[in-house]
């Protein structure tokens, strides 16, 4: 299937929208951003009524389950990406020097740094959860043996006892680990207290205090404040604090007393409602649970704890051979435990996601620092170049991206080319460095003779550099030039402009390697990634008319990118 085949259907989806003023367009961007955040978060809300539940195609994940957290993190990563695209990048640093942003942005950055610590704590917490999962697995393995002998039961009981005591052990106790008597230390050793956990931070570190510190100076802006950028920054801070708060509540973490009280969400904003809803629900659960051990609110652990207790009770009263009734009962419980263990396998990707979050925050902070750095030496820097800002529209997830690049000064240049990478949530979260999605870019050109067409193809084929281009085609009228491959579209555009002055980027889409898509597009969430991590292509092919290559066959994709040409002022 040659790439052009899809063009028609693809083009149909583009709704051309041209704004008259850049400013207007920006406002719209920001509003869109708020709306998207609200949408994403409300998807996480458990269905309020029974009818909803029936209507839902696939049952939504239980609140605070591992799967739910994975979705939450997905949503957060998306918000974060969009925030960066809409608010930070492609903007004159002078904006940030004005009040109140000069105060807000550094405050937000401070919060992100605090969030880093929480991410670390959560990572360690997940380690502990994995340890619990292993213990549960032992119990499951031995209880699944037939016939159940006393040996099996004892083995299971031992594992579960360790598990339960590890769950119920108090944070405080954990703290004084070093100082406690030798007996207590031994107790800990046998229970399986990974020392890495207690060495995670200084003893005085407290997750709840951290959350408190994050939210303490977070006061909702008053309604009258006009600047467009203020609200997104607040919004992002709130979402960040909320996500961290939820994770701390659910995953074992150091010192969490009084967590319930710390988060005050503003009621006047539309985007805050889903968060408030979630917060209320989690808060209720937290009140019930607060004093009991360190297990946290994670759905799986709670069930595990309960089941563990039941099975231990069964094991205590165990005599050989088992009564049929009891055996059936236990079998049921074991089956449930197996299910939980399977669900807990998801912890590994969750942990990876938390790490991804960590690295993302680090990266954003680094980028934001660049922008702020620029502020101080603005007088010497080159005029800022603005790159096309694209609106991506799609049925369910509307994604707004500013594809932008900035040149900081004559001497050193940094830009972040935002690439949209599709992450299929059903598959394992890929480490960021392994993906390099080919893109299909359609340039609107004006090439009416063979010579200029050839010139244009030559020009674009030179963009390759460390990237590669799979195919280049010009349609019959010479109005559209389609390039497929992994390459820098800004650079390609620049090269093409040398041939045809009127060149415009008409659309960008990600070409997915063909694979059966079972999930409906709704389930997929766009993610972005930096192109510099892209791996070297294995077979750089760049014929003008490429051989049939099923692997990178362009496929229409639900993300349509539309350009707003007025703000495209490359060179």
């Amino acid at each position: 299937m040659p790439p052009t085949d899809n063009q028609g259907s693809f083009l149909n989806r583009i709704s051309i929208r041209r704004n008259q003023v850049v400013y207007e367009h920006e406002i719209e961007d920001l509003e869109q951003f708020q709306k998207h955040v609200a949408d994403r978060l409300s998807e996480l809300l458990p269905p309020s009524s029974h009818a909803d539940e029936l209507a839902a195609v696939d049952p939504p994940e239980t609140l605070l389950s591992i799967a739910w957290f994975r979705r939450l993190l997905d949503a957060f990563l998306c918000c974060e990406a969009e925030f960066k695209a809409v608010v930070i990048m492609g903007r004159d640093a002078a904006n940030f020097a004005k009040s109140p942003l000069d105060r807000l942005i550094p405050e937000h950055l401070d919060r992100t740094v605090k969030a880093l610590d929480i991410c670390n704590a959560i990572t360690h917490g997940i380690d502990l959860l994995l340890h619990w999962q292993k213990l549960a697995q032992i119990a499951v393995d031995s209880l699944q043996q037939r016939p159940i002998g006393e040996g099996h039961v004892k083995r299971a009981r031992k594992a579960l006892n360790t598990l339960l005591s590890s769950i119920t052990i108090d944070d405080k106790e954990n703290h004084h680990h070093g100082k406690a008597a030798a007996a207590a230390a031994k107790d800990h050793a046998t229970i399986g207290n990974l020392r890495s956990l207690s060495y995670c931070f200084a003893r005085s570190w407290s997750a709840s205090k951290q959350i408190q510190a994050m939210s303490s100076n977070l006061v909702a802006p008053r309604g009258g404040e006009p600047t467009g950028l203020v609200i997104p920054v607040y919004l992002m801070s709130f979402v960040l604090v909320f996500v961290m708060w939820a994770m701390v509540a659910a995953i074992p973490c150091q010192e969490r007393t009084g967590l319930g009280a710390h988060l005050q969400l503003p009621k006047q904003f539309q985007w805050a409602h889903p968060m408030i809803g979630l917060q209320e629900k989690i808060g209720e659960l937290w009140k019930k649970k607060e004093k009991k051990g360190r297990s946290g609110l994670l759905d799986e652990t709670q069930r595990l704890e309960k089941l563990g207790r039941n099975i231990v009770e069964f094991a205590d009263g165990f005599t050989f051979p088992v009564e049929a009734e009891k055996a059936a009962e236990v079998e049921e419980q074991v089956a449930e435990m197996v299910e939980i263990c399977q669900k807990m396998e998801e912890l590994v990707p969750l942990q990876l996601q938390v790490r991804e979050l960590f690295h993302r925050i680090v990266r954003s902070r680094a980028e934001a620092l660049d922008v702020l750095d620029q502020m101080s030496e603005r007088d010497r820097s080159l005029p800022i170049r603005r790159y096309p800002s694209c609106i991506v529209s799609q049925k369910c997830i509307t994604f707004s991206f500013a594809l932008c690049k900035r040149v900081f000064s004559s001497s050193y240049k940094t830009y972040i080319n935002i690439d949209i990478v599709v992450q299929n949530r059903s598959c394992r979260l890929l480490p960021t460095s392994t993906m390099g999605e080919p893109q299909k870019v359609i340039f609107q050109v004006c090439l009416h003779d063979c010579r200029s067409q050839r010139k244009a193809m030559k020009a674009i084929s030179k963009v390759i550099g460390e990237f590669w281009i799979n195919s280049i085609e010009v349609d019959v009228d010479g109005n559209n030039l389609t390039a497929v491959g992994v390459f820098d579209l800004i650079c390609g555009h620049r090269k093409l402009k040398k041939v045809c002055k009127k060149t415009k980027i008409k659309s960008v889409e990600i070409v997915k390697p063909e694979e059966p898509k079972k999930e409906e597009p709704k389930k997929e969430e766009p993610k972005k990634e930096e192109p510099k991590k892209e791996e070297e292509p294995k077979n750089p092919v760049w014929h003008y008319q490429p051989p049939y290559n099923p692997c990178y066959m362009p496929q229409p994709f639900y993300v349509a990118v539309e350009e707003t040409p007025h703000c495209c002022v490359i060179f």
């Binding site: 340890h131 040996g151 890495s196 009770e313 480490p431």
Partner: protein, 656 residues
């Protein structure tokens, strides 16, 4: 049942402390006692044998014989067609069970007393062998026989025993240092003061014994592990391993004075303090990648020699948890505000992390867990990227700080500007890190499309250094305008140009980066400054002593001559006064300069004086009046130039 559960949990909550104290056991009812075991370490989990006195094990049992008999029994069983009717349970099976029971009991009763596995060494092989037999029996025996129950019970008991044994072997209780606080202090103190090479060589000697497992001990662990995994106790086994080794690794890190700082603290601490901390971190990373990780891998491969596939997962998890916490720190450092002077620490970090990445990657294919290896690699790479970006930005920062260095007052005497020294030293050091820097720039240059083909030819790093140099040149050019006296301006430019040239030539790395062309261009520039200076200062002098205009119609115009000589004297006075305060610090340049001046001036003067001396009337007195300087005097004058003796003059006069 449900209700009961709830109750018991709260009971545990209330009584846990008491239960762990172990004393009130007797006061508990049997039911409660079971509850209380819930909190106890597992060696209490083995039910106390009330009838242990009833066992009478014959002392003279030949173990080998016994095992043979059991084997025979197993064969019989497996060949028997009807599995429900057992052949008679032979007497020796009973003995066998009793022996195992007694052996395992001995150890459990010895409790927490340090028993370095001596129980297993003498009769160890017997236990391993018998466990194998038990396992066989368990798989062979028909279900729902009392014998099977007995066997599984026994197997579990043996496993518990082994687990304990393994625990005592693998988990090394950290010996608490006698004065932990003091030790930490002293270590930190030393790490502040000792130089880099010394502190680097320190840890390996200190921890030569890591991981501290003797060959024999490793073998024993290997035996236990192999047995446990073959009987399906893989999870217990791996739990103990990961816990023990994880803790051991953390102890090692602690020994190296690793103290995990919060990301928040890292942002707040001042750099001077953090710098020392980063040095320590680098040392730890190097130690990790050179010593700890390879040693750990070796140990693990020995222990799990029979079950390498189990080891893969365990090992990568183990390393991941250790490395992750080290990485967090680096990431936190990488997102601090950039400032140029931190470059070298960053480069060190970059190098160390590259080493670490290699160390985690460097394993034979069979012990590699692809997926988690990739994950870890991705993490390390991500941090390396952040640091790389930091490095690139630091060069930007350097350029900016050079640009922003606007001085109101010039350096006295046109000497080498401190900025020049700083930048050149910086660049020299940076070039010494060329191997590290080059890839960083290459990676980051992927984003920056080189704009001109000329830039494409050079490596990105060279381009960067060149641009730093050109920024420095621009800055110096601006600075030179602060000097009102053009001669001094040229001296200043010459001094700095020469300094830069010497520095670049002095280091082979920098020279390679800058290229010969650049050096040639620079030296011609310096020559140009030299010429310009000479023109500015000495042309006027030479004009005074030129023949032109003195002879009018074949006659010497004495008036003009006198005027000329007067001027000349004043000029030489002035030059002597001002230029002796100027500075040319570089010896060779100084002598070149002086030689070239005297080469031009003195012969001309000599001939001038020789020619017109007799035209001066009024005898010796008049001659002395007009010819103040003998050629020799001029030589001394020239020799006294550029000495930079400021003491005689107040400088301000020259610049105002």
């Amino acid at each position: 049942m449900e209700k009961h559960t709830g109750k018991s949990s709260s009971f545990i909550g209330r009584h846990r402390w008491r239960a762990t104290l172990d004393s009130p056991r007797s006061t508990f009812s049997p039911k409660l006692y079971h509850k209380s075991t819930l909190q106890l370490p597992p060696d209490h989990d083995i039910p106390p044998d009330h009838d242990h006195n009833s066992y009478s094990i014959p002392d003279d049992v030949d173990y080998d014989q016994l095992l043979l008999q059991i084997d025979r029994f197993i064969d019989e069983l497996s060949t028997a067609e009807d599995k429900t009717t057992l052949p008679d349970i032979p007497h020796h099976l009973d003995t066998f069970c009793k022996i195992i029971k007694s052996k395992t009991r001995k150890s459990t009763r010895s409790g927490s007393a340090p028993r370095n596995g001596e129980m297993i060494t003498d009769q160890g092989t017997f236990l391993y062998e018998s466990v194998k037999r038990l396992w066989k029996l368990k798989t062979i025996l028909a279900p729902n026989t009392p014998l099977l129950d007995k066997i599984t019970k026994l197997l579990h008991r043996a496993m518990l025993f082994m687990e304990e044994e393994l625990r005592s072997l693998i988990i090394i209780e950290p010996r608490p240092p006698p004065e932990p606080k003091l030790k930490v202090m002293s270590l930190r103190y030393s790490s502040f003061n000792t130089d880099r090479s010394c502190s680097l060589s320190e840890p390996p000697t200190k921890d030569d014994d890591f991981p501290g497992f003797s060959e024999e001990k490793t073998m024993r662990i290997n035996k236990i592990v192999t047995t446990m995994i073959s009987v399906g106790y893989k999870n217990e086994c791996s739990n103990i391993y990961s816990m023990g080794r994880g803790n051991a690794l953390y102890d090692q890190l602690k020994k190296l004075d690793f103290e995990k700082l919060n990301a928040e603290d890292v942002q707040k601490l001042n750099w001077d303090w953090l710098e020392a901390d980063v040095s320590r971190w680098i040392r730890i990373i190097k130690h990790c990648s050179c010593v700890l990780i390879p040693a750990e891998r070796l140990l693990g491969e020995k222990i799990f020699s029979e079950h390498l596939y189990v080891f893969r997962g365990l090992f990568s998890n183990l390393i991941r948890s250790v490395v992750t916490s080290l990485l967090d720190y680096a990431a936190a450092v990488a997102i601090r505000k950039r400032s140029a002077e931190r470059l070298f620490k960053f480069l060190d970090m970059h190098e160390a992390l590259n080493g670490l990445r290699e160390a985690t990657n460097d394993s034979s294919d069979e012990t590699k867990d692809e997926q988690s290896c990739n994950d870890l690699n991705a993490e390390i790479s991500s941090v390396i990227d952040r640091i790389g970006e930091g490095v690139v930005n630091m060069f930007g920062d350097l350029e900016n700080s050079i640009r922003n260095d606007v001085a109101k007052t010039p350096v006295p005497g046109g000497a080498v500007h401190p900025l020049t020294r700083y930048v050149l030293n910086y660049v020299t050091c940076a070039c010494e890190y060329g191997d590290t820097l080059e890839p960083i720039f290459q990676q980051n240059a992927k984003l920056n499309q080189a704009t001109s083909p000329e830039e494409m030819e050079k490596s990105p790093m060279a381009a960067q250094i060149m641009s730093v140099m050109s920024v420095l040149d621009d800055n110096l050019a601006v600075k030179s305008t602060l000097y009102k006296d053009p001669s001094l301006r040229y001296i200043f430019l010459m001094n700095n140009g020469r300094y830069i040239l010497q520095k670049v030539k002095g280091s082979s790395e920098v020279k390679k980066v800058m290229g010969d062309d650049w050096c040639r261009r620079r030296s011609s520039e310096v020559r140009h400054y030299h010429k310009s200076y000479q023109r500015e200062t000495w042309t006027r002098v030479l004009q005074c002593i030129s023949q032109e205009g003195i002879q009018v119609k074949g006659k010497v115009d004495k008036k003009v001559l006198k005027e000329r000589l007067k001027n000349l004297n004043a000029m030489l006075d002035e030059i002597g006064k001002t230029q002796s305060t100027w500075v040319v610090s570089e010896e060779q340049l100084l002598s070149e300069l002086r030689a070239s001046i005297s080469g031009v001036v003195i012969p001309a003067y000599r001939s001038f004086v020789g020619r017109y001396k007799h035209h001066l009337e009024g005898g010796v007195k008049s001659i002395d009046k007009y010819i103040k300087y003998q050629p020799e005097d001029i030589e001394t004058l020239i020799e006294s130039l550029f000495e930079g003796n400021l003491t005689s003059m107040s400088r301000r006069r020259f610049y105002s």
